[in-house]
Point group: C2
Chain length 145, copies 2
């Protein structure tokens, strides 16, 4: 069956493309202000209703191990960008909420970051390619398991 080989090849291409693009983007990222992992957390919170999310759900969006995210959040909380509150629905859980200051930081960084992405990604693919790529990647992500 050729799908076996094709799947590995496609993943290889996707992974290398991700590395290539990420290198450019990371080089232009304002790491002094915030790390990419921290940005990713702010990003995920920002698009949530009420700008809050359970730590458990936040963890599912990233590749970070649970203890790593736990401490990353403590660092963000220490700098005033997020707040931690117990989940009223589940006493085990913790709700992480983006503060106004955190949202302001996110928006400020997002502007530069999106410009980097537009330059690197938009410069390599035309509109049709971009749309196609997004569809395929969404399909790939959807199939959890």
């Amino acid at each position: 069956m050729s799908t076996r080989v094709d799947a590995v090849t496609a993943w290889e291409s996707l992974f290398r493309a991700q590395v290539a693009v990420m290198r450019t983007i990371a080089a232009e990222f304002p790491t002094r202000d915030i790390s990419l992992n921290e940005y990713d957390v702010l990003f995920n919170l920002s698009r949530q209703p009420g700008r809050e999310l359970r730590q458990r759900d936040l963890n599912r969006q990233t590749l970070l191990a649970q203890p790593s995210l736990s401490r990353l959040i403590d660092r963000l909380a220490g700098r005033g960008y997020v707040e931690k509150a117990p989940d009223p629905k589940d006493a085990r859980g913790t709700l992480i909420r983006l503060t106004d200051e955190g949202f302001a930081l996110f928006r400020r960084v997002a502007v530069e970051h999106m410009a980097s992405i537009t330059a690197r990604v938009g410069g390599a693919l035309d509109t049709d390619d971009l749309a196609q790529l997004a569809v395929l990647c969404d399909k790939l992500r959807a199939d959890e398991g």
Copy 2:
């Protein structure tokens, strides 16, 4: 211009897909034997003629910072999976060569790893999708800058 928005959307999709797939793959990876970054180094060496590469070139394939790769290689060398030799063409450079033991380890791990990829990626997209995705990602990667 709508390409601005599309580029950011497409990158977002690609990145999230990469995270989703990587989570599955990493969970099934034999981390006891070797880390994913270490595997990536062995992988890159394995497909090189003579199975050797300059550390500088190796560095361009990964997202690791130069000192991190330097020490990762030292660890691999300490375990006998690679060997370091001065580059006769350039006395600054170091050639990293995959040993037979390193190649054997790579092949052993690659079997399981490719099975993980096939299951996760091949299960979500059909052959046409996979081919399309590979083309788009290669195009995206090609445009370095």
